[in-house]
Symmetry: C2
Subunit: 282 residues, 2 copies
Amino acid sequence: MSLDRLSLNQKTTNSLGLPEAIELCVRQGLSSIGVWREPLAEVGAERARQLLDDAGLRVSSLCRGGFLTTDDASARSEALDDNRSAIVEAATIGAPTLVMVVGGLLAGSTDLIGARQRMADGIAELAPFAADHGVVLGLEPMHPIFTADRGVLSTLEQALDLAEQFPVDQVGVVVDTYHVWWDPQVATQIARAADRIVSYQVCDWVVPLAADTLLSRGMMGDGSIDFGSLTAMVEAAGYSGDIEVEIFNADVWATDPEEVVDTMKRRYSELVQGRVPDARRH
Amino acid sequence: MSLDRLSLNQKTTNSLGLPEAIELCVRQGLSSIGVWREPLAEVGAERARQLLDDAGLRVSSLCRGGFLTTDDASARSEALDDNRSAIVEAATIGAPTLVMVVGGLLAGSTDLIGARQRMADGIAELAPFAADHGVVLGLEPMHPIFTADRGVLSTLEQALDLAEQFPVDQVGVVVDTYHVWWDPQVATQIARAADRIVSYQVCDWVVPLAADTLLSRGMMGDGSIDFGSLTAMVEAAGYSGDIEVEIFNADVWATDPEEVVDTMKRRYSELVQGRVPDARRH
């Protein structure tokens, strides 16, 4: 089975710096990587671009921008500036999309409607700037377990309602199996998403949840998600780009990265890979 | 402020048996209680009915039926029988609705579509029996944190799509703030629900979540939920029945029940109570 579309999201091998993660991808025969801003900052975007080019790796996405729900003018201005920096970084390393984790409620607040409106306003401010840099903002609906503290964008339907207010080269959506698998509307909304899909990320939902729920993203096959169905939906919608494996999990992080990638490749081939065998950038 | 519509769900004072919970309600001036099957079984439904009548308490609901996702014929038959027993118990104690927690995926399964279909088939088998006993099945959409292991009914929209296949005296929906607060569709779907709403339950979403996520239901005011807005939606939809406070929380359970009910009454008056002051059974 071909691994041409498989991308290692850096979080899956969280202990490695970007140069080490790039080397791991090359050693393991992968052709794409999903980069995070913190390890990118350790290297610098220009140097990272050189390393990636030398290795012949595609960048499937940059994680992450967002956190746009504040109602404080100065904090909001800072957040927008930080997102513009992220967009420039994405452009520099050749990431087609910046994954947006939009932010949760303010501490002590119950104003979900207000937080959602401020998030939408922030996207509107950033979208043209992103497109000017050749980067699409990837709105990532997050599992409702994170609505309060991480992402007030909760469903693919809601993400599309927002994304469709912008040109397709400005704002798209991220389909992450962990965040959308439970949604009774998932088939309808993935079909609707069509060319708005800018990233497809996979990992499993494992019960019981980890005590720190942020770390409950599991290796494909360890949990409740039917990857075959979701991949088929995403491909039927027209997405033929990279498929990122993004796992936040203390046990995975404590395992030798080489072994993690071995397992990842096997599970990807067995469970995730869809029916379109040839890799094509979207 | 009137407490006429406030109902103590037994789970909120989990350490008490039904007779003690009834006494607590009377002492605290409450006029309604939400009963659970396990403590009900300790007393017996007939005796419970007597205690409730003597105390002059309404029963707002019986928790709970459901768990209808099995694909094993014998287990399915058992589950249906158990639900019929629950319906008879509800009728005996004068509960207008049996709250249905429909069940999660089978162990090791990723067949969410199949589990949802079997759940729907089970509701269809039980609905006429329920109505014959004067009991409405209350479909409770559960927060997607529970899709894998507890309830494959995940949104109010999904619950209404199912409920509307039956007469209104057979199948309704339960609006529980904990389960629905995050949903971008909540206002639309509560308005749509109208006379399908058979129970309104409240508690708060508190972050960080408890390590056992089942116990992360918090006292109103301790978390992220805007109760005023949700109550206004439920009342605008026409619901004027009891409002149950149902809290699963180790700290609350470790607190003196008298103190818990004091706090519950205060928070209910401050945060939950809507604009319709007079209690009327729906």
